[in-house]
Amino acid sequence: MASIEIANARKSYGAVHVLHGIDLAIADGEFIVLVGPSGCGKSTLLRMIAGLEDITSGDIRIGDDIVNDLQPRDRDIAMVFQSYALYPHMTVAQNMSYALTLRKTAKERIAESLAGVSEILGLNALLDRRPKALSGGQRQRVAMGRAIVRKPRAFLFDEPLSNLDARLREQMRTEIRKLHRRLNATSVYVTHDQIEAMTMADRIVAMHDGIIQQVGTPIEIYDHPANIFVASFIGSPAMNFLHGTCIKTDTTSAIRFADGHILPVAPRPGLYAGQEITLGARPEHVAIAAPETPGALPARVDLIEPMGLSTLIHVTLAGHELKIFTMDRPAFAIDSTIHIAFDIDKTHIFDRNSELRLPPVIKAPEETTKETSGANGT
């Protein structure tokens, strides 16, 4: 196993710039998830690590070696593809041992590795089958097996669960995590599914438009998103956003919405009167309140989505559509007016122009939030 270091890596196709200077250090044994919407450059970055795409400029280092100019086969990495990419004309056993055969590994060693890996993945009964005789889940497992059997320096996963149904996806998610614990292998995992990112990652790298927006543990990213993009992308149901203007007195700060309603907010450095700001509140940080509660605002009920364990209420407040998460089972009539209150300490304030989050008052120097440390300034 080895660490991976990416320094100022750029990628362009002619005049189209896909990656704008990526800096990322992945520790030995770490499970990193690159997450972002389609076209954000996450797969390109992964393919650059694999050697399947050239690097326009910058350096990629695996272990102690700069691998910029190395062929994929010389990088000692394994990759699991979204399509699984199993060789259709080979059996499961041949698929899994192909890389070892190419490396002229002794037959006994191959058989030994194959037996070990197929035992772990429960593929023993399938070794003589061809890929087309396997189910989606089994194919996925063979693809994993093909990667593991080689004991490479790093594992790369390119949306490996996208083709599975929801239940199998959940199951494989757990299995991959367990496997990672067991092998302690440096892994880079690309997904557009923020739930996969949250549940699997040691650290998440949130990407957008070819730029790393934020690097952090799942909880850091969830609780302290660096900007509006990260806040909106991570979390399901997504964060609510309300636009307004900052009003300020000597002692308090508040946001005034277009309809005139005012909501006090926790003070933040950098917040000034007249500033165009966006308030971000996760659905679980908005609650249904009695009308007389201080700070409660009236909202119209649009839709109620019962989800069994919880309920999601869609409301409209000051022209903004919001979602409220509750463990209760409220019986509001559609179009009725209810009052909602925000958990002020947990809401986020973003500058509307820069889209950056204004961090709350720093209480002590050592509590500096980490969320911007990995963010790329380009």
Binding site: L52, S83, H89
Partner: protein
């Protein structure tokens, strides 16, 4: 039950009509072949005297014996096998590599090359005979099998390339990328992973080019003048003399000419059927 009986009758009629139509089509398509066979075994003396009969009153193998032993046909056959086989082989190798490049790589001038290759397919061959003759003559390539192979290859490569490209397009890139990560170079990945999966395409291309070269007459006639380098379609014409046409021998030669082509298709048919239906169903 009445309903199911009626529907069973309906189904029978439905399928009977289907098979009848297919049978009619097959009969229409194969009848000339049957006539070829019939005339080839009809003795010369009753060919015109018996009138139109589906099968002659007696048959003879004399025409075959003559064609095989007393005519130059075995030589023409051999020439045709050499020319068609070599053309099919060379064209398929070039088309496989070119098709792969078109399918997988983006390179400068790709569009121009594809356009040029398409343009070559637009001209009637008759237009090109004269210049090609003028080019080949000083090179000593007229009246030679090599010259024919070169010309056939040049004319078949564009279409064969597009055919192969469509087969490569149907194979996910992930496969060779996985092979390259597993330890192959790109060429090894092409040879060991992609090519085995394109065997149906290779077979289809081989078959297409082989038949095209096998039955080509125009170039064979214009570029070759001596009997030693003639192919079988040209040889067939030797049965047409100024005063008569020796139908029996001509038909016997025709039947014999079918043999190599049939053998060739028999060899590749397993891959060909896969190839022509590739992509029709989700794999």
């Amino acid at each position: 039950m009445v309903l199911s009986g009626r529907s069973r009758l309906g189904t029978t009629v439905y399928w009977a009509t289907h098979y009848l139509m297919i049978a009619a089509f097959v009969a229409f398509a194969l009848f000339p072949l049957f006539w070829l066979l019939k005339v080839s075994v009809t003795p010369n003396d009753i060919l015109y005297t018996e009138g139109v009969r589906m099968w002659p009153s007696r048959i003879t193998w004399d025409n075959y014996a003559f064609v095989l032993t007393k005519s130059s046909f075995p030589h023409f056959f051999l020439n045709s096998v050499i020319v068609s086989g070599s053309t099919a082989f060379i064209t398929t190798i070039i088309a496989a590599m070119t098709g792969y490049a078109f399918s997988r790589f983006a390179f400068r001038g790709k569009v121009v090359i594809i356009a040029l290759m398409l343009i070559t397919q637009m001209f009637p061959l008759v237009m090109l005979i004269a210049p090609i003759f003028r080019i080949l003559a000083p090179l000593g390539l007229t009246d030679s099998l090599t010259g024919l192979i070169i010309v056939y290859t040049a004319f078949n490569v564009p279409f064969a390339t597009f055919l192969m490209q469509s087969f490569f397009d149907g194979i996910p890139r992930d496969l060779e990328e996985a092979a390259m990560i597993d330890g192959n170079t790109r060429f090894e990945a092409f040879r060991k992973i992609i090519l085995p999966l394109t065997l149906p395409g290779v077979a289809a291309t081989l078959g297409f080019v082989f038949t095209a070269a096998w039955s080509e007459l125009l170039f064979a006639l214009m570029l070759v003048s001596s009997e030693s380098a003639s192919t079988f379609p040209v040889g067939l014409l030797s049965f047409v003399s100024k005063f008569s046409v020796d139908f029996g021998q001509m038909m016997a030669a025709g039947v014999l000419a079918l043999v190599p082509a049939c053998l060739f298709f028999l060899l590749i048919q397993r891959y060909l059927v896969q190839g022509l239906t590739a992509g029709a169903v989700k794999g």
